[in-house]
Symmetry: C2
Subunit: 301 residues, 2 copies
């Protein structure tokens, strides 16, 4: 199978399972049909499903089949999609388009988008706490703990707050490279680190494997952000599927604007090499995650 | 100790522990100071802490000390307070006053209130997944599962959606008694049922105890809602600490407006008696939760 086929396979498995979980756990019985539909819109409106793919592939490093990782992949995607639904709100980024589709608040309204996001975040932890996520309750509790840490005030939500503070508050100090690096490490890096580490948790692997995968995830998250900034500068709206050059137009400092184009591209290559090197430890099994590093560096949307 | 002293003791223990958890888990290190402050505003702005009290007292039925129940009580309070921060938003109930204090969005702004709510919901599951919540990971996973079910699309968030649909959508069918009962059972009842059942989960009690406490929680939740509607009709703004008669002014159907004042008061007494009767099973240990039923029925704010 090619890398693209593997990515596609994980995406389809994730979407099938997410659809079944939505029907079962947020479905019609006694629930709000409007809320369920908005959750479905937020969750099944496209996307590469790159985070679920990382969960599936990090589990495969330890010989686990896709079925053993799919619920964890779905829980993570619920968190990612809830964060998009909230970030797109008028009070935050005020976006009306996401993956070429209307954002949740634009398709419904603000309160529905807020509640759909709340329900998706809650659903993520319900999925991880169910025995179908893993037979061992110790593993389930650890998945909940690590996903909560990655998603909360010291992770994704904290990063989004720092980002909006820099953008919206007149009193905010301009962020330097270190500040942006920390912000992005929280806002996008923490979930990617969780995705890469999840396989080690599911396989009850030792501290060495966890550390290695966390470092791989950090490389990937950093690379992801630089690539995103480069796309904002270089990409076209059709390729990216959302408004581009927004950062530049907003006069917003990015890693690329502070480092310069050449240094950013060079850092991107260094991160790719480090990530690939970490995967050599796993021999042939590590090949797909090594390719994933190249995929992140070269992505055009 | 009197009932009021017990309620106060649980409230103070909850607030002390919440403050420590906020410092430790959402505190300054790398996090956003603004976000942490908004979370603190949402969480420590007063309130009776009735749900935490129910957790503590349901655990006491099985001989568990307050220290064994306090983290679960705090997690539940995080969910309750996040829901208030989001419900108060302009896009939802548009309230500027809560417990006599500015609501989170009014004290900060909308995006900060959305993110503080998101972070509090996430924190709830982080608290439950940590070993300090319970030594047995099976219990921790079950607490996460039950709290998520009570809080999500088929619980609290679903109920809030049904409520806003009835209020804001021109196409919505008017709700009858059964519809409002179901809505309220989700919106406020599910968390109260979780609170009452939590002691049985923490004590690894059998199905009989869980069913009994769930039924007690359902009685209490229903009574809580009728009492709330009665306060909206009969209370004064000073006693309640927020705007009253909003439902009547909005022409909104409530249990009381549909049942009539006398039938509502009579139902309230019947629920009180049933809840008290369920607690006789626990002998002297059940006395406090029996008193709690009277407290709910007679509350003036």
């Amino acid at each position: 199978m090619t890398f693209a086929q593997k990515l596609d396979q994980a995406a389809r498995a994730t979407e099938e399972r997410l659809s079944a979980l939505l029907d079962k756990l947020a479905g019609p019985q006694a629930a709000s049909a409007r809320l369920s539909a908005a959750m479905r819109h937020a969750l099944l409106g496209g996307g590469k499903r790159f985070r679920p793919f990382l969960v599936v592939e990090s589990a495969a490093l330890f010989g686990l089949p896709i079925t053993a990782a799919i619920d964890t992949a779905c829980a993570l995607e619920c968190v990612h999609c809830y964060s998009l639904a909230h970030d797109d709100l008028p009070a935050m980024d005020n976006d009306i388009l996401r993956r070429g589709q209307p954002t949740v608040w634009h398709a419904y309204d603000e309160w529905t988008a807020i509640l759909a996001g709340d329900a998706l975040l809650t659903l993520a932890f319900e999925i991880l706490a169910r025995p179908s996520a893993h037979a061992d309750p110790d593993v389930r509790a650890e998945l909940v703990l690590e996903l909560a840490k990655a998603s909360g005030a010291r992770g994704m939500v904290g990063g989004q707050s720092l980002d909006l503070e820099a953008e919206k508050l007149a009193t905010a100090e301009p962020l330097g490279i270190d500040g942006i690096r920390r912000l992005q490490g929280m806002k996008t890096g923490a979930l990617i680190r969780f995705a890469a580490s999840a396989g080690a948790i599911l396989a009850k692997a030792g501290a060495d494997d966890r550390d290695r995968l966390a470092r791989y995830g950090d490389d990937l998250g950093f690379a992801f952000q630089i690539a995103d900034d480069l796309l904002d500068v270089e990409g076209s709206e059709v390729e990216v599927g959302k408004a581009v050059a927004k950062d530049a137009q907003a006069g917003k400092a990015t890693l690329v604007s502070l480092m310069g184009l050449e240094a950013a591209r060079s850092k991107l290559r260094a991160l790719e090499q480090d990530a690939k090197h970490l995967m050599t430890h796993y021999g042939p099994r590590g090949a797909t995650l090594a390719e994933a590093a190249t995929f992140v560096v070269n992505r055009r949307s």
